[in-house]
Amino acid sequence: MASSSNSPCAACKFLRRKCQPECVFAPYFPPDQPQKFANVHKVFGASNVTKLLNELQPHQREDAVNSLAYEADMRLRDPVYGCVGVISLLQHQLRQLQIDLSCAKSELSKYQNLGITGHGLIAAAAAATHHHHHHQQNLGINLIGGGVGSRDHPFHHQFFPSNQQQVIRSFDGGNTYDASSLLAMNVSASIGQLSQFQQSKGTGAADGRCTPVEPS
């Protein structure tokens, strides 16, 4: 914590004022991270941030500052959509995955049905063999060797403890969001994992058609 005897916090350095012992910014804007405050100040303004922090309990302020810093960073990277572009992209990814999930479930139910039929016929064939009967049936079981898509943990760390009960609004912020702007935190890592995961199997088309799981 910065005090008058130590170097001023990043906020007071930026604002060129004396950093008081009770400075509200000092715990959250250390002097070695000047860009953090610069971004927050540019997007939200110091006085708005002060008001926001003063309305919160002390134990909530660090998370609030970090989320403001993240939002400010995203807004500066993408002045049109900011964080909303990230939300829009993630919602799209989630919709795609849910389509893939329903395709996978329907594929599984087919294999499960085949499994029941196959076992029944094997048992019947074994019984017939024991009694020297000949069967001319064709099981017609397709050989499959569907590989398990290797999946690393995409969620390397959580930005904040998420115990919120937010309602996810369907906000379509437009389709011109530049995916290369997704550099913050673990978002790009997650989306990278999503791309690899989709390449390891046939994916459901965006219009909802199911593509069967391709054998590896």
């Binding site: 049109v80 599984l108 063999t129 999946r151 998420s162 919120q164």
Partner: protein, 151 residues
């Protein structure tokens, strides 16, 4: 003379000039929209952000700023970031479900293949000793280590 001030100028209690940067995006019939963005970002910051953008991008920018401000007012600690966290968690959960189902499909596929092999052997050699079947099953199970990995 009827008032034609935009919501921003009404809120700020000032005259609304003809080239007001806010008027197109903060109409007077939605005062809450400007109130929210002003509370979080401040009018001057909003004005600067809009000014820095080409005209055809300003509407989307105003919408996204309003959305962010609304989220921040509803959740003063996390704002939009809370929604991002929830989405990431849901994406992870669905990925886990897909991976599990793919593993089950692979497992069932492997067993279906070995069952078909056994069935074909029965067709070729119908007079086989029934004990031969169980020996084959034991061999195929030990060969396919993945069948024990998933369950």
């Amino acid at each position: 003379m009827a008032s034609t001030r935009c919501a921003a100028c009404k809120y700020l209690r000032r005259r609304c000039p003809s080239d007001c940067i806010f008027s197109l995006y903060f109409p007077s019939n939605n005062p809450q929209r400007f109130a929210h963005v002003h509370k979080i970002f401040g009018a001057s910051n909003i004005g600067k952000m809009l000014q820095d953008l080409p005209v055809h991008r300003r509407a989307d920018a105003a919408d996204s700023l309003y959305y962010e401000a609304h989220c921040r007012i509803k959740d003063p600690v996390y704002g939009c970031v809370g929604i991002i966290n929830i989405l990431l968690q849901e994406i992870y959960n669905v990925q886990c479900q897909i991976a599990k189902i793919q593993a089950e499909i692979a497992f069932l596929g492997t067993h279906a293949q070995s069952d078909q092999t056994q069935y074909q052997q029965l067709q070729i050699a119908p007079n086989l000793d029934p004990n031969f079947l169980s020996e084959q099953k034991g061999l195929s199970n030990s060969f396919d280590d993945s069948s024990t990995w998933f369950f």
